[in-house]
């Protein structure tokens, strides 16, 4: 199937030229492409490229018409399938349609109709057929303690499956905090020694799309980028696409003016909460959380947690389960000393102080005695 181009496939689906161009526009938005790449690359006459912002849509239209669909293998390890749920329930139908049209999902445990050996065989076939070309999407962390026995599929460990599937992948996309940074399974004391994909696979390009769940538009936008440009978008130091993770929630928060004015909700049902004041005091992690929740939002841009009255949990950051209590202010120390510790510190100080005083006294007495002797 992927031998035909995306353009041909869309035509077969009965999608008109007009709808196609609209989709390209949506993709441009989703990928955050404000400006088109250099003119030559788009292959369009210069006068067409001068039209502001439409240039990038033209570029995408060109690419989609001529490129083949990209096969995707979607693996789930220590996960909750929440990221898959998010993708399937994404309320940007044009975008999802486009992505479903421009990629072919060859293997997905939750979505595929086939099960058991049938499904496994489909995966193996796809791996052989598209070796070196497919995108591997990973959802869920990989437990490595005791040779990875804490997560097995068809009798094989997650670690084993990941390594095998990663070999033939063109690129790997870790969707969700678990696949990216270990997520919930990694929370202290991390009994299964759960790890993110990028810690285990170092010889392939790995993109992290953290979140709990990952924003579907971020996942699809990254896949779309790969489809259009044949490569991965620009990444930050945690391997997150800068398009979606360059700014903090705080930077784009609709409650930001209240933060600046120092107007905070003190509890979830006080006057401040009703007036939509800043949720900083209720534990909001927005200032240190890089994500596009506040701009892309969820459910077709309907809302996001802070808009709905709940502080940001910081789910796009590493160690988000151990980064302080969800409802504890962000400025609060992560490990405040216990009463016992403080008591021990006081005792130690007192002992030192008394010791110093005793030493002083001995010295004083010695000095007095000397004085008397001399006198």
């Amino acid at each position: 199937m992927p031998e035909e181009t995306i353009g041909q496939h869309l035509k077969k689906q009965g999608i008109s030229r007009r709808d196609f161009v609209k989709m390209c526009g949506v993709l441009v938005g989703a990928m955050g492409m404000k400006f088109a790449p250099p003119l030559e690359e788009s292959g369009l006459p210069a006068q067409l490229n001068n039209v502001r912002d439409s240039a990038s849509a033209n570029l995408i239209a060109n690419a989609l018409e001529t490129k083949q669909r990209v096969p995707v293998i979607w693996l789930e390890f220590s996960d909750c399938a929440g990221c898959s749920e998010a993708i399937t329930r994404s309320q940007s139908p044009t975008l999802v349609d486009l992505v479903l049209n421009t990629i072919t999902i060859e293997y997905h445990e939750t979505l595929s109709a086939a099960a058991g050996f049938q499904a496994e065989k489909a995966k193996e076939d796809a791996m052989k057929k598209y070796a070196g070309k497919y995108i591997l999407v990973v959802e869920g962390s990989i437990p490595v303690a005791n040779d990875g026995v804490y997560c097995t599929i068809g009798g094989r460990t997650a670690l084993d499956l990941l390594k095998e599937t990663a070999k033939g992948a063109a690129a790997i996309i870790s969707t969700g905090n678990c696949a990216s940074f270990g997520g919930l399974p990694r929370a202290n004391p991390n009994p299964t020694d759960a790890k993110g994909v990028w810690e285990l696979i170092t010889d392939k390009p790995v993109v992290n799309i953290p979140g709990c769940p990952a924003i579907p538009e971020a996942t699809t936008g990254t896949i779309a980028h790969f489809v259009v440009f044949g490569g991965l978008p620009e990444l930050d130091n945690l391997h997150r696409p800068k398009t979606f993770y360059a700014q903090t929630i705080h930077d784009r928060c609709l409650r930001r003016p209240f933060y600046e004015a120092g107007k905070f909700a003190e509890s979830f049902d006080d006057e401040g909460a009703k007036k939509g004041y800043c949720l900083y005091k209720l534990g909001c992690k927005g200032p240190t959380t890089y994500s596009s929740c506040a701009t892309i939002k969820w459910d077709q841009g309907l809302s996001f947690p802070i808009q709905s009255g709940h502080p940001c949990l910081g789910c796009t950051e590493p160690n988000f389960w151990d980064g302080g209590g969800f409802y504890q202010g962000q400025s609060a120390p992560l490990a405040p000393p216990t009463v016992t510790m403080a008591g021990a510190a006081v005792a130690a100080g007192a002992v030192l102080g008394v010791g110093a005083a005793l030493a002083n006294q001995v010295q004083k007495k010695g000095a007095h005695a000397e004085e008397k002797k001399e006198g």
Partner: protein, 225 residues
Amino acid sequence: MNWESTLEFARGPFFQVALLVFIAGMTYRLVAVLALGWKADKVKSKGSKVNGIAMSFAKGILIWPFIPWVKNTFTRNPITYLAGGLFHLGLFVVIFLGAAHVLVWKSLLGFAWFSLPQPIVDWLAAGAIVAMIALFINRLVNPVLKLLTGPAEWLNWLVVFLPMVSGYAMTHHVIPEYDTLFAIHMLTVDVLLIWIPLSRISHFMFYFFSKAIHGSDFGKRAVTP
């Protein structure tokens, strides 16, 4: 080592250790002073010790700051007096009444109090920073202060100045990377906590200590100033 893990370290284990060093160090300083010994005071009490202590604090905190011209310190070096006053006021408000710091107290003590609106805290923080710069220049140019200032004084200045500037830069998003400034702020705060018991910044405690001792002496002799 990136900024995220630096921040985690500075907010987590390093802060814990720094705070414990601070508690142990301040206890040591206080006990060591108390254990120096007390001279027998054979004077017959003419007044009230408690009254003396209360008057001593009231004058030091509530009266002198508002009529500074009666003090010699003010007439001899007004910059030290005014900038010093502004600095202490700003620092107090930021540490005890700033929203972010109230949350720190809440997590350390288990309870908290009101916080002042951000603009008020902001202006006082800015005032405190400007005051510190004025004090710095004053130390550089005033001939008497020049003689009194050594490495320890410069270090004290720096150790207090860094958390203030980084905290101010953080709340005002001087650079977009909030976590970077947050990490720097926490690191400098941790250093400050460890440095306080070792330095003259410990006057934050000994001020109250000596005010109380002198106040009770004055009160007993009924010579409350």
